[in-house]
Every structure is written in structure tokens, then in C-alpha cells.
């Protein structure tokens, strides 16, 4: 196609390499040659890995799965910004056309105490599961629930819940936060369930349990930098943190 860019580019990558959780890590330099602008960022890394394997070098380990921006598995800080800083874009959906020939790209893993590095760019995010396990659910049983239309939910509330529920749990909010806090992640679930009638009954215990888990997992505290919202590939709004705070105060008051 005439309007498809066929100019390839050459890039220098500075990639964080770390053998294991306790091994020391450092940035290594690699060349990415003949990169097509139509490639996704991860496809560019695939190609670099192919050349590394051919040279007998251990390829760069990185987490990825769906490659369409919804599973939340991919997790790289590109040039100092989680997911590379393109608005509402995961790194798997970041395309090389946003880079220029000759660019140097820094690629680092999510960094936070609660996310120990497994290898290279892959980190352990099970702390996010722990937060959900603490109370990120409605305690309903399988079967024996009311008809879906038995309780009406006004559209604005349903939309609000959906805005919060879009969180993909990638942890970019933590990686971007100067305090390594998972407050945006936690608040999205708290807010979603607190606004829905089905979740209201447990709202107080939920917010207490989830914020407690947040602390126990080793995440930092929120100091309202809002870097999380800026890092979030789904644009989850910090208004949900305010909602969490409100829910917390309500829980304390009762």
C-alpha cells in the first residue's frame, strides 16, 4: 500500500537484564535493525530475541499474552514511562511508528518492592491478586440469585461501575507511582462494587480489608501525584481513589 510506511529504522535498545530475583541486574545495549514502523513494540523485541538466540545469547524475557491490550500481562517501562506513554495504550499495542530512526530506547521492568523481578522484564504481580482476594468480590453464591432485572441499576451508575471495571490489572499504576502504591488499582475495584447495589452490602468491610491488604503486600501510600492515571493504559480516573477514600470514611463513621 502506498500510504504504508516502508521505511525501516535502526534503533539502540538499553534493556534491563537480570537473571533472577536475587541476582544483580544491569542495562545491556542491543541493536534493533530494520524495524518496520508497522511492528508492535513486542514484535520488535521478538525480532531482537531471534537474533540473540541465533548468537546463542539468552533472549530477553518479558511478559505478554493477548497482545491486544486487554489481558494486562505486558509490563515494560519504556523511556521512563509505563507502557511507553502513548495515551491509553499498552506496550503490546504501542507501534514502532511512534519512534524515529536512530532513537535510543530504555526498557525496564515495573519497579516496586511489591513486584519483585522474576527475570529481565518479567515481574511477580501476585500481590495484586492478594488485594482482590482480600475483598474484591461480591459474596454471592453460584445459583440461587435474583433475576438480572430484579434490581434496577440506573445507567449512570452502571456506566460509572464500568469505567472503574475497565482496569486490566497490569500494575502500570504501581510502576508509575513514585511511592509504589497500588491505590488506583484497589480503588477501581472498591468503586465499581460500592456503586452497584449488589456490592453495597459489603462496601465497608471491603474497603477496610482491601486497603489493609494493600499495606501488607508492601505497596506504598497514595500522595495524590496522579501519576497512576497518567500511566494507566485504560485511563482509569483518580476520582475512584477519592471514592475509595469516601468509602473508607463512611466505613469508619459507621
Amino acid at each position: 500500500m502506498s500510504d504504508h510506511n516502508s521505511n525501516t529504522m535502526n534503533l539502540t535498545l538499553q534493556v534491563w537484564r537480570q537473571k533472577g530475583p536475587n541476582a544483580p541486574g544491569k542495562l545491556e545495549t542491543y541493536e534493533a535493525k530494520h524495524v518496520s514502523p508497522d511492528m508492535s513494540f513486542l514484535e520488535m523485541l521478538d525480532e531482537v530475541n531471534e537474533t540473540l538466540i541465533k548468537k546463542g545469547v539468552d533472549p530477553i524475557a518479558f511478559d505478554h499474552d493477548c497482545r491486544e491490550g486487554i489481558c494486562g500481562m505486558c509490563s515494560q517501562v519504556v523511556n521512563g514511562v509505563p507502557h511507553g506513554g502513548q495515551d491509553r495504550t499498552t506496550v503490546c499495542q504501542l507501534h514502532m511508528r511512534s519512534f524515529k530512526d536512530g532513537d535510543t530506547i530504555f526498557i525496564e521492568p515495573w519497579r516496586a518492592r511489591a513486584f519483585p523481578v522474576i527475570k529481565d522484564l518479567a515481574v511477580d504481580r501476585s500481590a495484586l491478586d492478594t488485594i482482590i482476594q482480600a475483598g474484591g468480590y461480591v459474596s454471592c453464591h453460584t445459583g440461587g440469585v435474583a433475576d438480572g432485572n430484579a434490581i434496577l441499576i440506573p445507567k449512570p451508575e452502571a456506566d460509572y461501575a464500568m469505567d472503574a471495571a475497565e482496569c486490566i490489572g497490569c500494575g502500570a499504576c504501581v510502576a508509575g507511582c513514585p511511592n509504589g502504591s497500588a491505590m488506583l488499582f484497589t480503588s477501581a475495584k472498591v468503586a465499581q462494587l460500592a456503586v452497584l447495589p449488589q456490592g453495597k452490602a459489603e462496601a465497608a468491610t471491603r474497603v477496610n480489608a482491601m486497603t489493609e491488604a494493600l499495606k501488607e503486600c508492601g505497596f506504598g501510600n497514595c500522595t495524590n501525584h496522579y501519576e497512576c492515571q497518567a500511566s494507566c493504559p485504560k485511563g482509569i480516573n483518580v476520582k475512584f481513589i477519592a471514592k475509595l477514600n469516601r468509602e473508607y470514611l463512611k466505613a469508619i463513621a459507621n
Binding site: N79, P178, T211, K215, N221, H225, A230, L244, N245, L249
Partner: protein, 221 residues
Amino acid sequence: MQILKSAVGRKVLMAITGQSMVLFAVVHMLGNSSIFVGPDGINAYAKHLHDLGALVWLFRAGLFALAAIHIFYAIQLTLENSAANPAGYAVKKQIKATFASSTMIWTGVVIMAFIVYHLLHFTARLTPGVVQGVDALGRFDVFTMVVSAFKNFGTSAIYVIAMAALFLHLSHGIQSFFQTMGWNTDKTQCTISAIGKAVAFILLAGYVVIPLSILASALIK
């Protein structure tokens, strides 16, 4: 108390104590501006306050408690936060965080040091060179004390620098209060943030206008 351990509860304490001190700062600034009325204004204002007797000490104790709680949790939370993010990035770009939001602990330290100095200077009057006397009506002459102090460039500079730190601290702190108390929504956030910065700026202006105008001899002929 669960609130004293909670990630959110301690922030709420920070927010409430901080915002209370902002209110004090506003009142203090309004009180200060009585200096523009002349010696009669501020000396009468000071006497009025001191006549409250035990209430003054109650008020001071309250302020001290607010500051102590605010500082204690500021240090605790900051230590926790830096422990939560121990390994820095080789390259890190801030998108939304500001200089003010990233330096809260340091502007806080500057403000705390300033408050100690300020208390020694104008309240305990233990710093060298404080001019102490009484005015024609036999009241303690605050006016002369302040004016003579601020004629000194170094003293004025200390006050101006400290107020700049206060401005930075509050330009993040005031809007932060609304967020932490849960009163923010996506629609109000911009407005609240702007109002916070405006209040911080008014405080800055209201405070520094005194040393600056004295220094410039604009006030006193």
C-alpha cells in the same frame, strides 16, 4: 485504633491536620495584614490576642498537636513510600506529578525549620537583635519589632524563602485534602486544583508583601 495504621486513615489525619493549619495560616495572614493599618493596628491586634490568657495556650497546644501529628505521619508515610519503591529507574519521566508534589517532605522540612525560627524570633524573641519595646499606649510594640527585623535583608530573605516553600507545599496540599477526604470527582478536580493553587498563592502574596514592602521602604516613609 485502626485508623492510625491504615493506608487511608493516616492520609486522612495528614489531610485534616494539614488543612487545619492552612486555616490557621489564613487567619494569621489576615492578622498580619493589620500591620498595614500602622502601629495601632497590629499592636492592638496582638494585645487583643494576648488578653485571651489561657485560651492562647490552649490554642497553641492545639496547633502544636496538629503540627506534631502532621509531621509524625509525614515522616512515617514518606519512609514507607520510599521503602515501597526502592530501586529507581535508570530513566524516569514524570507525567502528572509536579515539582511541588514530589518535594512535599522537603518543603515540609523547610516550613518546620522556619516555624521554629519564627517562634524563636517573634514569639519567644530569643534571636539576637530583636527590638523590644512598648508603644505610646503601653502595648508591646509589635510594629517596631517587625519593621526593624525586616529591614534586615537576611531576615527578610529567610521569610520569603520559607513562604515560597509554603506555597509549593500548599499548591499540592490543599487540593490533596479534597482528594483524600473523598470530595473530588473528575469534574471538580481541575477546579479544586486551581483553587488550591490560588489559595496557596494568596497566602504567599499576603505573607511576603510585609517583608518585601518593609525592605523596599514602601510602607514606612
